[in-house]
């Protein structure tokens, strides 16, 4: 392969929007959770568990975690793009990052619905 600089992948806009949308979701969740914790002031495990026993809390917590993982994917991809130049190594790191984040998503779900 000739060594020429190639750009023009025609993606980026969706990720840029997603990064902002997930940031908003995380910010709203953080404020909501802070308010809940201030009101409930959980002192023991049972009160903690009580908060997460609600289906809605499970739902928004899962939404928050998915947003966090997607946000992290875009951030990590940007890091690999900046610092890892060999294409093969970068692709491997991309795949490993995706696998880890998908794993975390499953793990997060199993923890949340176990509570």
């Amino acid at each position: 392969m000739v060594n020429r600089i190639v750009v023009g992948a025609h993606y980026g806009l969706k990720d840029w929007i997603a990064q902002r949308a997930t940031a908003v979701i995380m910010a709203v969740y953080s404020i909501l959770m802070a308010l809940v914790l201030l009101m409930v002031q959980p002192g023991d495990f049972h009160t903690w568990r009580g908060i997460f026993a609600h289906g809605f809390v499970k739902f928004i917590t899962f939404l928050f975690l998915v947003s966090l993982f997607y946000h992290a994917w875009i951030g990590m991809r940007d890091l690999w793009m900046d610092y890892i130049k060999p294409t093969g190594l970068r692709l491997t790191l991309h795949v490993l990052t995706i696998l880890a984040l998908v794993g975390y998503t499953g793990w997060a779900a199993s923890i949340l619905w176990r509570l």
Partner: protein, 236 residues
């Protein structure tokens, strides 16, 4: 104002003679009429004619004498010498290859500028006199057309340091928006397609170093935001 002596520490590198760059301490006596950094550089050049830098118009129009002044990019001809802390540390613009002393190789910078097609694209036959615009449409070009391509902004941008071959950089993107915003231009879609790329446009993380250093007081970050806004409008 009286005569005064000003201390400098200047980046020196002559690839034909020096193994590696070094900082030279030098001082110069200035006349009361010497007000700008470029005046002092002229005096320094008279004292040591091996000191190399670019200059031309000496009034902030040509953009030749951009350099890193006490850690911040700026034009020597627009910088008040008395506003600077001494010793005044002068270095070449960061991130570009040094040709000699304060002179950098701007090839990469101009390559990115050319990549956005910095000219009006309009396939209609040219009218008798000129292509007209409403005053409101013309208003949008203010703050865009004034760029003098001094490269202060792009060379203060970390995204441009890491990917100068792929990221267009603030100067190029400001120019890109200048033509995207122009109602007389007919290539808006192609221009947006050309920038829809994780490197070319989306390496900008809005840290606004470009706005901080622009000697003409322009705002590339705002222009970049408007390009993204137009892409969103086209997409949703």
């Amino acid at each position: 104002m009286t005569k005064r002596t000003v201390q400098f520490s200047i980046y020196r590198y002559d690839p034909d003679k020096d193994e590696r760059p070094y900082m030279q301490d030098i001082s110069v006596e200035l006349e009361p009429t010497d007000r700008k950094l470029l005046d002092a550089l002229t005096k320094l050049k008279a004292k040591d004619d091996t000191i190399s830098y670019r200059r031309s118009c000496r009034e902030g129009v040509c953009g030749s004498d951009a350099m890193n002044i006490n850690g911040k990019n700026g034009l020597a001809c627009l910088t008040d010498i008395d506003s600077l802390k001494q010793p005044i540390v002068l270095r070449p613009l960061p991130g570009l290859p040094v040709i000699r002393d304060l002179i950098v190789d701007m090839t990469q910078f101009f390559k990115q500028y050319h990549s956005i097609k910095p000219y009006l694209i309009n396939n209609d036959p040219p009218p008798e006199r000129e292509r007209l615009q409403s005053p409101e449409d013309r208003e949008e070009l203010n703050g865009l057309y004034e760029c003098i391509l001094c490269a202060c902004c792009s060379t203060s941008c970390p995204s441009f340091w890491w990917n100068p071959d792929k990221f267009v950089g603030p100067a190029g993107l400001l120019a890109a928006y200048r033509f995207i915003a122009d109602t007389r231009d007919q290539a808006t879609n192609e221009r947006l397609d050309n920038l829809d790329d994780p490197y070319r446009l989306f390496r900008c993380h809005t840290i606004m170093n470009c706005v901080d250093v622009c000697p003409k007081g322009l705002n590339p970050t705002k222009a970049i935001g408007k390009i993204k806004e137009m892409m969103v409008k086209r997409y949703v």
